[in-house]
């Protein structure tokens, strides 16, 4: 089906099921229980999961396959957001043209920046992309204020000259982004017992885009083009002496990943129609690098897992505060309770970066292949135990 190998089809179905049932999967705890704060099934966060998943899938096509580490990809996400908001301001509140323009604009920017940056490789390439991204951030933040809104960001206003559609709703409000009448912010709640599951139109729109993006990434990975990108990472000398021009291959990978970033930016603006320069800052570029490495660079599912992992930490771990810790350890004697809370406190709340940093270090040192390698090791271990039981201590398989 879909012209995919069996294992890839399984992966695609797994991603589709996970994203489509996310409102259930991410809300395992009843709304009134103490564990409810670990629920991540609210629209805002779920949207961020899939949008950053798309961003990371695209980044992985460049970094995971060719090994070219860009430190400026947030810039393409940023221009995608600006393009989408301008489309809302000038054309219509429909998200489709906005997202199409985001992808095109990000593609053009990445073509220019990639063409220049790819004249160098390794650390010099990374620095060039970083420099470009910081330039674009600085421009967006100050010089280009008429276009970008500067410090306050680009927002919709009541007097936007929208060609298709109205400037204001009859009630005098700013209209909201939608898809042929479906408003992105609309949700509907399903209460089962003490569980509440929220289904949001914007989230499901993003989820469908993620599934399509993931499918496209599989096709690219399995195509001759994907193999050539891995060959770039492996041995450029051999490629040159095999009649292959490496420059257009790396540039194509750069532009494709830039367009994925633009798509993510456009979706972000479609969920919440504003765009700010901080989306282009180097910390945002660094975040997608972390996501890709944490999940497993060069693997298909890794970047999606990494994006989910980091966004979960950022939003859930950071909300635990000292009061909550005291509640958890209230059963301990007072002195011990205070002691444990004092030890754990730096790792929670605003200190979530510390926990994330430690986890990242552990993954890089012990699981260089990221979370995907962790999963593979666990699967191999379970398989090994099962095989051990059935053959009852039979001879071990020879290594290939």
């Amino acid at each position: 089906m879909f012209n995919l190998e069996k294992s890839d089809l399984t992966l695609l179905i797994a991603v589709a099921v996970l994203t489509l049932f996310a409102p259930f999967i991410l809300n395992p705890f009843p709304a009134d229980s103490a564990m409810a704060q670990f629920n991540a099934g609210y629209p805002d966060l779920m949207q961020r999961f899939v949008i950053f998943g798309i961003f990371a899938i695209g980044f992985n096509i460049l970094f995971g396959l060719t090994g070219y580490l860009s430190f400026g990809h947030a810039a393409f996400l940023g221009v995608g957001s600006y393009a989408a908001v301008w489309m809302f301001k000038l054309l219509s509140m429909n998200v489709i043209p906005a997202i199409i323009l985001s992808v095109i604009v990000a593609g053009l920017f990445s073509l220019l920046i990639g063409f220049i940056s790819l004249r160098r490789s390794g650390i010099y390439f990374s620095i060039l992309t970083l420099a470009f991204a910081q330039m674009m951030f600085a421009l967006a933040y100050s010089v280009l204020t008429p276009i970008t809104g500067g410090e306050t960001g680009l927002q919709l206003a009541l007097d936007d000259p929208r060609i298709f559609g109205q400037s204001q709703t009859p009630e005098g409000n700013i209209p909201v982004p939608g898809l042929f009448g479906l408003e992105m912010r609309d949700s509907f709640d399903l209460a089962i017992g003490s569980w509440v599951f929220t289904f949001n139109i914007g989230y499901y729109f993003c989820a469908l885009v993620l599934i399509a993006s993931f499918y496209l990434a599989i096709r690219i990975f399995r195509s001759p083009f994907g193999m050539m990108l891995r060959a770039v990472k492996s041995n450029q000398q051999r490629m040159n002496y095999t009649g292959l021009n490496t420059r257009p291959y790396t540039l194509a990978a750069f532009v494709i990943s830039g367009m994925y970033a633009g798509l993510a930016g456009g979706l972000m603006a479609s969920m919440d129609p504003l765009a700010g320069a901080e989306r282009m800052q180097w910390t945002a570029s660094g975040e997608v690098v972390l996501m890709t490495i944490l999940g497993g660079a060069g693997t298909l599912i890794g970047p999606v897992l990494g994006a989910g992992f980091i966004k979960y930490f950022e939003n859930i771990f950071s909300k635990i505060n000292a009061t909550i810790l005291h509640e958890w350890f209230a059963f301990l004697p007072d002195g011990l309770e205070d002691f444990i809370v004092a030890i754990l406190y730096p790792f929670i709340g605003k200190g979530w970066h510390l926990t994330l940093g430690i986890l990242f270090m552990m993954v890089v040192i012990f699981l260089p292949g990221g979370l995907v390698e962790g999963g593979q090791r666990i699967a191999a271990w379970i398989k090994g135990r099962k095989a051990g039981k059935t053959t009852a201590g039979g001879k071990t398989e020879p290594a290939e």
Binding site: N3, L4, E5, R219, I220, R222, S223, P224, F225, G226, M227, M228, R230, A231, K233, S234, N235, Q237, R238, M239, N240, Y241, T242, G243, L244, N245, P248, Y249, A252, I256, E400
Partner: protein, 251 residues
């Protein structure tokens, strides 16, 4: 008129005249060896032929067309494949993928955005790579990472990758350097078989006299950046100038 015509080629690196007035004519379907002591300019000459270096003077014509000023990939697409001293293969990729890449390069040219149709759908290229693997006697290793193979196997794979492009001229840079005797003999046999069975010209740079005299039917001796003599192997063996310059050390 040979398939490769090198005329008056000179190359200077700072104060060192690496090549001066090199003339060389490689006949079609011959096995032409270029020998010479260390520092004779053999590798510099080879690099001038494949586009890695541009000579200061002279011309290099392949099949009537100049190769000067062209990038290595363009020269390769003209029909010159190069085997390196240390095997240059795609170590992170499987043996099969290593073979597929030159087959795609042959079919699609220097760049093709072939990004949607999967490899498994492109049967023509798959079959060709498969056939080449069988010919190189490494079909059982197809799923192996290329980096995990022995030196001799890597060399065989690299030669197979070059052959799958159906080049008209195969350039080899000391193909048996650092190999055990058995691997060296296997490589000699493989190259002999290639030159007999295929419509191909082979130019080989080599240190090992055993390899040179087992393979070559024409030899150019290079000394101090300039050709000393070009002749048939029997005459080279007896030439006193060659003995003095080179063979004297080992023969």
């Amino acid at each position: 008129m040979g398939i490769l015509e090198v005329k008056n080629v000179g190359k200077r690196f700072g104060g060192l005249q690496a090549l001066s007035d090199v003339n060389l004519s490689v006949k079609e379907n011959s096995v032409h060896a270029i020998i010479g002591p260390n520092g004779a300019g053999k590798s510099t000459l080879l690099n001038c032929l494949v586009g890695k270096l541009i000579p200061d003077t002279g011309s290099v014509m392949f099949d009537g067309q100049s190769v000067l000023g062209r990038a290595p990939y363009e020269i390769n697409q003209m029909g010159i494949s190069r085997v390196f001293q240390t095997p240059e293969i795609f170590g992170d990729l499987t043996v099969m993928e290593n073979m597929l890449i030159p087959c795609f390069a042959k079919r699609d040219g220097a760049f093709e955005l072939n990004a949607i149709r999967s490899i498994s759908e492109q049967k023509d290229v798959l079959e060709k790579a498969e056939q080449m693997l069988v010919e190189m006697n490494m079909a059982d290793k197809r799923h192996m990472h290329a980096a995990a193979m022995s030196r001799g196997d890597k060399r065989r794979l690299e030669i197979g990758m070059c052959l799958s492009q159906e080049p008209r001229l195969l350039l080899l840079d000391e193909p048996t350097a650092g190999m055990a005797r058995a691997d060296t003999n296997n490589t000699i046999d493989l190259l002999k078989q290639i030159s007999e069975e295929r419509d191909i010209t082979i130019a080989i740079i080599e240190h090992d006299m055993h390899v040179v005299f087992s393979l070559a039917n024409r030899i150019t001796v290079l000394a101090q950046g300039t050709p000393l003599v070009e002749d048939d192997p029997e005459n080279i063996r007896g030439n006193p100038k060659v003995r003095e310059a080179y063979l004297g050390e080992s023969a």
